[in-house]
């Protein structure tokens, strides 16, 4: 008889034998459903959200790729764009420049930002107007669509004529929202959109006019933006003017910092859910194994080898694990679909929910594996059930007594550890963090184990003969042979640890997001405030009752030399290195990197730098030290990416050309800047003193509560200082806070779901060990114990176990959450004392309820039934 046929026979036995136990086993294995559903929901949801962010990011950018230059493109670049357009790439051009706008009917004038756009602009996202839906009519005649603040400051109405240069435009509508129009640094006034076919008529763009030339590209299906970007950068990296290229992926970066935090958090949720599932399976299967002792003993008498017995039950567990995992996956998909629906008050309903097959497949695979590996540990003890049990029944605990050196058990234990590490790696995404999670889990288990051992020892000494019998009996249960102290403390404590850690991390993250929302304080920026206007603008702001959030001096400058070598010399070096490398067949960027040359773009560009005594909230010093007030020699702090583009290190000397004056500075720190905050941020910050004599302008940030007040303040400033332009940041902030509230809701929801699921798992984990107690209770009952006495014995034991287990778990969780906040989320931590105490009390209550329920069951069963079973 072949092995295959033998296995088929075992399948048949496994199938039949599972008949009545199927439901129970499925219940145990369904613990894994929690893990799988969390995994599938989280991964699918993350997938969907990042997809939406990707889409939103496209909208913010307007196209797949955007090209931007300070001057008309070179002929080469123009030819490339023309040929792209002919071959199916969407091309849309935006020309942006400053001009005075005049409304003849009111006589008002105002510096405006003209944007001449070609018909397909934008490819992604929608420009909303008031009245609604007229954006596409812009190209049907000499029309203009303008910022509402322009109407206020020019005292104009819809339908009025706006003159730009020599051309006249009818004001068709006002702008509500232009996705992604966050060109804070370039913003110099209210926006006026006109069709680019009328650009020539204005007569404004003569040779040498300062304008920005942008081109949005929508890539055809076969061409990836990244590939295009790579090739473009190679061919045009040394073109004049330099064309700066951004792809959607690059644009996402700024948006995804918050999303990253969400990802980290959801990674932890998934890990916690899987671990909880593992506990549920292991303790459930343990109880299941206890019930199978008799059957296994008979099978052994009938000639089943220990291997055959194991196969029979592993087959059952695997089948039920698969069903549990599938149910979990289905539930996860349901959650994923329900998520945007549940959160519709929070979310702008544009999260596209789609099935994520990879997430589902991964969830199933991980779920079945975890179910099997955690079930295998208790199942292994089935091998040790002796056929002698048929003749002479020993207590469960004796039957299950562990062999001293069981290599199979060691292999399975090792596999469990390896699986936990692997899952941690899967969820954490990097090795260091995975090791951190694994070690934290190991430390928690170790601590709980020690706690349990100490409790057993303490219980032995604690009980006094003077105490009532029921209390002594309950406490004695903690150390007598076959006690459940270790298993309950471990399962309960670990479960509480996981859930409470999750809860505290959630609380801390939410608090932090709240902070972030509030910290984006300024919603109005005044630009181009000249030195002699600063006081005047300041007093207008003050007198209208608003506060200045930030006042940043801005000094334009260029790099003159680095470490004594002039820019011209540096550029020549770079060029020759690139040429040499290209001759050797390496592309430009890589050649530069390989040769360690400085980026020509960064060497040539104009920097708008500031000086200040303290770092802004949006920046963090990465290396070196922030300026000390005592050292007044010229020093700079350089933004991280710029520092690497320029290959400058701490201690290097950078000489600046500030409007003809050479200022040598020492690099004393590098910074990380959160650009997404929409505050004026700077690549280079000087220490106070170095630039105070230089000619400068100011950017002034104000917080103004309502739209009407924004318009009024803008108008008041412009009346007195016509050259000062302003930008209303509210819309941008609105977009950002939308994203943040999405993140917040998702965090809250996932944590809630995990906690709600965790409780039944803990319930079954604690309940799994109560069979021995049940039998004992029945015996006591036959010996004359009353219901009350049995109840109190159970109460004493379970209350101690519950209190100690959950307290240990909660205390551990404070440490766990603190470490997570510090090392993974890199922010501050404040423990949530009260909720955590509630968790500990709740879990103790849960354990007591289980104990009392067991006591009740004792009185539901007849003594004979339980004794015969024994």
């Amino acid at each position: 008889m072949s092995e295959g046929a033998r296995l088929k026979r075992l399948f048949a036995i496994a199938w039949r034998e599972s008949r009545t136990a199927r439901r129970r086993l499925l219940l145990y294995m369904s613990s894994i459903s929690l893990g799988v559903s969390a995994l599938v929901a989280i991964d699918s949801f993350t997938d969907n959200v990042s997809q939406s962010v990707r889409e939103q990011s496209k909208a913010l950018l307007g196209g797949d790729v955007v090209l931007r230059a300070r001057d008309r493109y070179s002929d080469r670049a123009t030819r490339l764009l023309d040929s792209l357009e002919r071959t199916g790439t969407g091309v849309s051009r935006i020309t942006t420049f400053a001009s005075m706008g005049l409304v003849p009917s009111s006589g008002g004038t105002r510096l405006v930002q003209v944007r001449a756009v070609s018909p397909r602009y934008p490819f992604y996202g929608e420009i909303t107007t008031d009245p609604a839906g007229v954006w596409r009519r812009l190209w049907t005649g000499p029309y203009a669509i303008v910022d509402p603040s322009l109407l206020v400051s020019l005292n104009a109405r819809l339908g009025d004529t706006l003159m730009l240069g020599t051309a006249r435009f009818a004001i068709l509508a006002t702008i509500r929202n232009v996705p992604g129009d966050a060109g804070v640094s370039a913003a110099i006034g209210p926006r006026v959109f006109i069709p680019d076919s009328y650009l020539r008529q204005t007569g404004l763009l003569i040779f040498g006019s300062r304008a920005e030339y942008e081109t949005l590209l929508k890539m055809p299906a076969g061409l990836s933006p990244a590939r295009f970007a790579g090739r473009f950068n190679i061919r045009f990296s040394n073109d004049t003017p330099r064309v700066n290229l951004r792809t959607v992926a690059e644009n996402e970066f700024g948006l995804t910092q918050s999303i990253d935090q969400l990802g980290n958090f959801l990674g932890i949720v998934g890990l916690v859910a899987l671990m909880l599932g593992g506990i549920g399976v292991a303790s459930g299967v343990h109880a299941f194994v206890m019930r199978k002792i008799d059957t296994v003993a008979v099978l052994r008498c009938l000639g089943a080898t220990s291997g055959q017995v194991l196969i029979i039950y592993v087959l059952q567990a695997a089948a039920m694990g698969l069903i549990g995992a599938m149910a979990g996956a289905a539930l996860g998909v349901a959650f994923q679909f329900a998520l945007p629906f549940v959160l519709k008050d929070f979310l702008p309903v544009d999260v596209h929910v789609t099935l994520a097959p990879a997430a589902i497949g991964l969830g199933l695979a991980v779920g079945v594996w975890v179910a099997l590996i955690f079930a295998l540990r208790p199942l292994l003890s089935l091998r040790r059930i002796s056929p002698l049990q048929t003749l002479r029944r020993e207590s469960d605990a004796d039957v299950m007594r562990r062999a001293r050196r069981d290599s199979a058990a060691m292999v399975v234990s090792f596999a469990i550890v390896a699986s936990v590490v692997a899952i941690a790696l899967l969820r954490a995404g990097n090795l260091q963090r995975a090791m951190f999670y694994s070690l934290a889990i190991a430390a928690a288990i170790g601590t709980l184990w020690t706690t349990a051992v100490l409790l057993s020892k303490a219980a032995k000494r604690m009980a006094r003969p003077s105490w009532p019998f029921v209390v002594r009996q309950g406490i004695a249960n903690l150390y007598r042979p076959g006690n459940q102290t270790r298993s309950v403390i471990l399962a309960l404590g670990f479960g509480v640890f996981l859930m409470s850690t999750l809860y505290q991390v959630q609380q801390n993250l939410l608090r932090q997001l709240d902070l972030k929302l509030e910290q984006s304080r300024a919603n109005l920026v005044f630009f181009d405030v000249q030195e002699d206007q600063e006081r005047g603008v300041d007093s207008i702001i003050r007198s209208s009752g608003h506060t200045v959030v930030q006042r940043a001096p801005i000094v334009p400058m260029r790099i003159a030399a680095i470490n004594g070598k002039s820019v011209a010399a540096l550029l020549a070096e770079t060029d020759s290195a690139v040429r040499a490398a290209r001759a050797a067949g390496v592309d430009g960027r890589r050649a530069r990197e390989a040769s360690n040359r400085r980026s020509p773009w960064a060497l040539r560009r104009e920097f708008r730098s500031t000086y200040r005594a303290e770092p802004a909230p949006s920046e963090k010093v990465l290396s070196g030290k922030w300026f000390s007030p005592s050292d007044t020699t010229p020093q700079i702090s350089v933004e991280r990416d710029l520092a690497s583009e320029l290959r400058i290190r701490l201690g290097d000397t950078v000489t600046w050309n500030v409007q003809g004056v050479q200022i040598p500075t020492r690099v004393t720190s590098t910074r990380e800047v959160t650009w997404a905050r929409f505050e004026p941020n700077f690549f280079v910050v000087f220490n106070p003193g170095a630039l105070e004599q230089a000619p400068k302008q100011f950017a002034i940030l104000v917080n103004v509560p309502t739209n009407a007040e924004v318009a009024a303040l803008q108008s008041a400033v412009v009346r007195k200082f016509p050259n000062v332009s302003s930008l209303d940041l509210s819309l941008i902030q609105h977009t950002i806070s939308n994203v943040l509230s999405k993140v917040t809701s998702a965090i809250r929801f996932m944590a809630l779901v995990s906690l709600a699921f965790g409780i039944p798992v803990l319930f079954s984990a604690v309940a799994a060990t109560r069979r021995e107690r049940l039998r004992e209770g029945v015996l006591l009952k036959t010996l004359g114990a009353t219901r009350r006495q049995v109840g109190r014995i159970m109460l004493a034991e379970y209350a101690l176990l519950g209190a100690l287990g959950s307290t240990a778990g909660v205390v551990l969780s404070v440490g766990g959450a603190w470490m997570l906040m510090k090392f993974v989320f890199e922010t501050s931590f404040s423990p949530a004392i009260l909720p955590v105490a509630v968790v500990a009390a709740g879990m103790t209550g849960l354990a007591i309820v289980i104990g009392l329920a067991t006591g009740r069951e004792v009185f539901r069963e007849t003594p004979m039934a339980a004794l015969r079973e024994a």
Partner: protein
């Protein structure tokens, strides 16, 4: 528990082991059937020294040569009568197990109870299923541990008759462990145990097979 116990049982014998409770009957049975190993001495089963085999090899030997009938029937509660009988056959990986199982159940008079679960059967019927299961794989030797202990005397008598007839017809050796002397007398040989030692080993009047001396 047992000391100085030495005897041999020939193929086809019907032997009863009797003794008061605590005399070592169950321990002896566990040793004979290879459920347990002695601290000293050896047990030979159908020419194999089972004391030198490991747990799994003994399990295979049981599957091939040994049948069991227990006082508490020990049917697997989740399986039907038919399926209980099939288990030893399936563990050996045999074919046509359902034919063989229903044959044996017919022989013990349960042809109409094939699909009943143990809880749906009376005690006597359950024990007959157990006997059918024990004989399903045509064992060389069958061990019965107080097979009538949980049954009334009428039903018990019929169970022993069944064991006798199967012993006669199939030639399987039967070892019956009991404290009931009336029952024991139906065997052809009685081994008496007391305090872990064999106190007598006699052939009864119904003597037909060979016997050995302690």
């Amino acid at each position: 528990m047992l000391r100085d116990v030495t005897f041999a049982i020939e193929q086809g014998e019907f032997v009863a082991i009797v003794g008061p409770s605590g005399s070592g009957k169950t321990t002896l049975l566990g040793l004979l059937a290879g459920l347990d190993t002695p601290t000293r001495g050896s047990v030979q089963l159908d020419g194999t020294d089972i004391t030198s085999l490991d747990e799994d090899a003994r399990a295979r030997l049981r599957g091939a040569k040994v049948g069991f009938v227990f006082q508490s029937f020990q049917l697997i509660p989740t399986l039907t009568a038919m399926e209980n009988v099939q288990v030893p056959l399936e563990l050996r990986g045999e074919n046509h197990v359902s034919d063989r199982a229903s044959d044996v159940l017919q022989r013990v008079g349960l042809g109409d109870r094939l699909d009943h679960y143990p809880t749906q059967l009376s005690g006597g019927e359950q024990q007959r299923v157990a006997i059918a299961r024990a004989f399903a794989n045509r064992p060389r030797i069958l061990f019965a541990d107080e097979p009538t202990g949980n049954l009334d005397s009428d039903t018990g008598g019929r169970i022993v008759e069944l064991l006798e007839s199967l012993n006669r017809e199939s030639g399987s050796t039967v070892v019956l462990v009991t404290h009931d002397l009336t029952l024991a007398r139906r065997a052809r040989r009685i081994i008496r145990l007391s305090d872990g030692a064999v106190v007598s080993d006699d052939l009864t009047r119904s003597n037909g097979g060979g016997g050995g001396n302690p």
